[in-house]
């Protein structure tokens, strides 16, 4: 029982107690507010103090992924304009696959031959499946107008960026503990559907296969590769991110001036403005805990 004792102003007055039984306490009104009022209140117990530099470093991961998606969009644009032909696309695919595997080999501490073989077999099946299904993708959206395709693709890519899980990777290495969340699955599916829509606008079957392979490679495996790089060495991650951003900005500059300005503005906003804003808003955080809180169960409810 909590007994809250007040000072006696006079010897005849009993002490005030924080109890509800016994009727009105003699000498005290019902609205008496004691010194121990709100004594049990705890403020901002679980709030994490954030450092500006750390938040900016974390924001780099977001801008890095943004650049990767912009590069994919660039490849799509060039392919649709027939600037990139099938053979260069295929070379691009193979080189990306090779470099991805190289990164995994170099950064993963425990990668047994078995696991590598398992990965290779999966990739082989994946590629074969895509090749077989390419004719279907080619004729999928023939009856839909181009405007609809561009609009839907853009909205799907934006949805993908919003719901993407930037802290980890949806496609995890085997043995990972965290299950993918609902939003990360939705974002992955959105990106796959956007790739299918773009691929269906292309004239030849080989082009369709190449672009599908490229898009899916990037969307499925890029988060995993970047996560491995980040885990391995933070400086490598920073170098990689900056070089990626520079490359993206260069390519977009050659494509369209306005888009370049927009992309630059967006990157600055994400990397610099948002962390500063977050730190400023933290002052207003007011978390209240006390004896009135609903108790949290310390065990998991297994149905």
């Amino acid at each position: 029982m909590d007994n809250c004792i007040a000072e006696n102003p006079s010897p005849t007055r009993a002490k005030w107690r924080k109890v509800a039984y016994g009727g009105m306490q003699p000498g005290f009104d019902d609205n008496h507010t004691d010194e121990c009022f709100l004594e049990g209140m705890v403020m901002n117990a679980n709030v994490v103090k954030r450092d500006m530099l750390k938040v900016m470093q974390d924001a780099i991961s977001i801008s890095q992924y943004l650049c990767i998606v912009v590069l994919v969009g660039l490849v799509w644009t060039y392919t649709l304009r027939s600037t990139l032909d099938e053979s260069s696309l295929l070379y691009l695919d193979v080189s990306l696959l090779g470099s991805g595997f190289l990164v995994l080999l170099l950064t993963e501490e425990m990668l047994s031959l078995n696991l590598l073989l398992h990965y290779l077999v999966n990739v082989f099946f994946f590629t074969t499946g895509l090749f077989v299904l390419a004719p279907i993708y080619q004729t999928l959206t023939r009856s839909i107008s181009s405007d609809t395709i561009w609009a839907v693709t853009v909205s799907l890519v934006i949805l993908h960026l919003f719901l993407h899980d930037y802290s980890g990777s949806t496609v995890t290495a085997p043995g990972a503990l965290k299950n993918p969340t609902l939003t990360s699955s939705i974002s992955l599916n959105a990106s796959v559907v956007a790739s299918v829509f773009i691929a269906s606008r292309l004239p030849s079957r080989l082009q369709v296969f190449a672009i599908m392979l490229f898009s899916l490679q990037v969307f499925l495996f890029a988060p995993l590769v970047t996560y491995c790089i980040k885990k391995y060495s933070f400086r490598l991650h920073l170098c990689f991110s900056f070089s990626l951003m520079a490359m993206t900005l260069a390519f977009v500059y050659t494509l369209h001036r306005l888009l370049f300005v927009l992309l630059l503005g967006l990157l600055v906003f994400v990397t610099v403005v948002c962390p500063y804003w977050l730190i400023r808003m933290q002052e207003y955080k007011f978390e209240i805990n006390g004896p009135w809180d609903e108790a949290k169960l310390c065990f998991d409810i297994t149905d």
Partner: protein
């Protein structure tokens, strides 16, 4: 009682008879005690099924079942201004002097208090529950509460923890909040003439089987206790979504003969279930003021409860435990060891001295007197209080009140107050011998006949 002023009180809430619960019982029993003190009490609530219109209950308690159907969790649809005409009519017909609203979760209460303030009546609000601050529902609820309590005359909370919670949520000055706890009807909850004998110890649990009331804790605690003490059996009364989990637990540990599940227990039979046990177990995760503990203690049971909310203030002879299965098992162990030293009749007599509804009514009367002494304020003075509620919210609230004021003026022109017939005062001759207990028995018979 020879009191100076006779108040004419309108109690408003979404929660009233024929529903049974803490708020409903509180309103009914408080109204009965206030009637005995010589005041006039009228209750307003929404229609329950076919039960719509005006009803009279024991002691001349008039209840208006306004023909609005509940739409979500026993609450009426919040239409802001839809209830203004009917509330104005009731207030003028019954010549009300004070409006008393109950329960922050009741939309009818908030609307009634808003309209009463517009029309210049004094307003008192009682909060019966604890709420958090962090989730979306609570944030919304707290803002609505801030609006209602920005201009309330006085407020009442049922425990000191509840007062702290309400003051933090609504920003009221603490001097305006009175702590008046609920009480228990000791005449109805009497212990059995003889304790259930035998060397079996029976633990009773009566609560809604939902997450908030700690049904998951029960699922962990019951098998452990049954394993440690072969002579202990459980009686679980109440229904809810977690009942399935309890039944599964029963099957899994083969406790069918040691754990009895009664299903929903009607209010009239709660006492008979309680007196068949020795210990009462309450495992709720949050509780502003637990009347169930008082009812059990009044029936002579030893109570074991989780240390949450206002429970430690309610009674001093409770065995408290943290809301953790291991701790609760330890507490039950301690309770079983001190059980032979407990005398049910002693506990009942003690409870009679500590809690009394007449005392609650007298303290509430003091609050009413203070409320009526508050000064009358014009619309502009009141608007300044609403503006303080927040940068955007303050202006929105002011707009709502101005529109309410204009609608009230329009109603005054359209249906002048002189045209509304005033109800004559009918004073029932109170039978001197008829005690409170007979009133409450009649209340329970009302329910069983329904």
């Amino acid at each position: 009682m020879g009191d100076s002023k006779r108040h004419r009180i309108l109690m408003v809430s979404d929660f009233f008879y024929p529903n049974f619960g803490g708020v409903e019982n509180h309103i009914y029993l408080l109204s009965q005690c206030l009637l005995k003190l010589g005041h006039k009490v009228v209750v307003m609530t929404h229609a329950y099924g076919n039960r719509s219109g005006v009803r009279y209950m024991t002691g001349g308690l008039k209840v208006y079942y306004v023909p609005w159907k509940p739409f979500l969790l026993q609450n009426t649809l919040p239409t802001f201004y839809g209830t203004l005409p009917i509330i104005r009519t009731i207030l003028i017909r019954e010549q009300i002097s004070l409006v008393h609203g109950h329960q922050a979760f009741s939309t009818l209460c908030h609307e009634a208090l808003m309209h009463a303030r517009t029309m210049g009546y004094k307003v008192v609000f009682t909060d019966h529950s604890l709420y958090g601050f962090a989730d979306v529902g609570s944030i919304h609820m707290n803002k609505v509460l801030q609006f209602t309590l920005a201009d309330v005359s006085q407020a009442i909370c049922v425990s000191h923890t509840s007062k702290e919670n309400t003051v933090l949520r609504s920003g009221l000055p603490p001097e305006k909040v009175y702590v008046i706890p609920n009480a228990v009807d000791t005449a109805m909850f009497k212990p059995a003439a003889e304790r259930p004998s035998g060397n079996e110890i029976t633990i009773v649990v009566i609560s809604r089987l939902v997450y908030r009331k700690g049904a998951d804790l029960l699922v962990e605690v019951i098998p452990e206790v049954c394993r440690m003490y072969p002579n202990v059996r459980f009686i679980v009364g109440g229904d809810g979504p977690k009942r399935v989990r309890l039944e599964e637990m029963r099957e899994k540990h083969s406790l069918q003969d040691r754990v009895e599940m009664l299903g929903a227990v009607p209010h009239a039979q709660v006492r008979s279930v309680l007196i068949s046990g020795h210990i009462f177990l309450n495992s709720s995760l949050t509780e502003a003021f637990c009347i169930a503990i008082l009812e059990a203690a009044s029936c002579g049971l030893l109570t074991v409860s989780t240390r949450v909310g206002g429970v430690p203030e309610a009674y001093d002879m409770i065995v408290l435990a943290e809301p953790d299965p291991t701790d609760m098992v330890q507490a039950i162990k301690k309770a079983i060891s001190i059980l032979p030293m407990i005398d049910p009749q002693d506990m009942h007599n003690r409870m009679k001295k500590l809690y009394d509804w007449h005392d609650v009514a007298k303290r509430t009367e003091i609050v009413y007197d203070r409320a009526l002494k508050c000064s009358n304020q014009s619309l502009l003075e009141r608007l300044s209080r609403y503006l303080a509620c927040g940068a955007w919210a303050g202006k929105l609230f002011c707009l709502v009140m101005i529109i309410d004021f204009l609608l009230w003026r329009l109603l005054q022109l359209w249906k002048p107050a002189e045209d509304i017939e005033v109800v004559p005062d009918i004073v029932l001759s109170l039978d001197e011998d008829r005690g409170m207990s007979q009133d409450f028995q009649a209340f329970n018979e009302d329910h069983s006949l329904r």
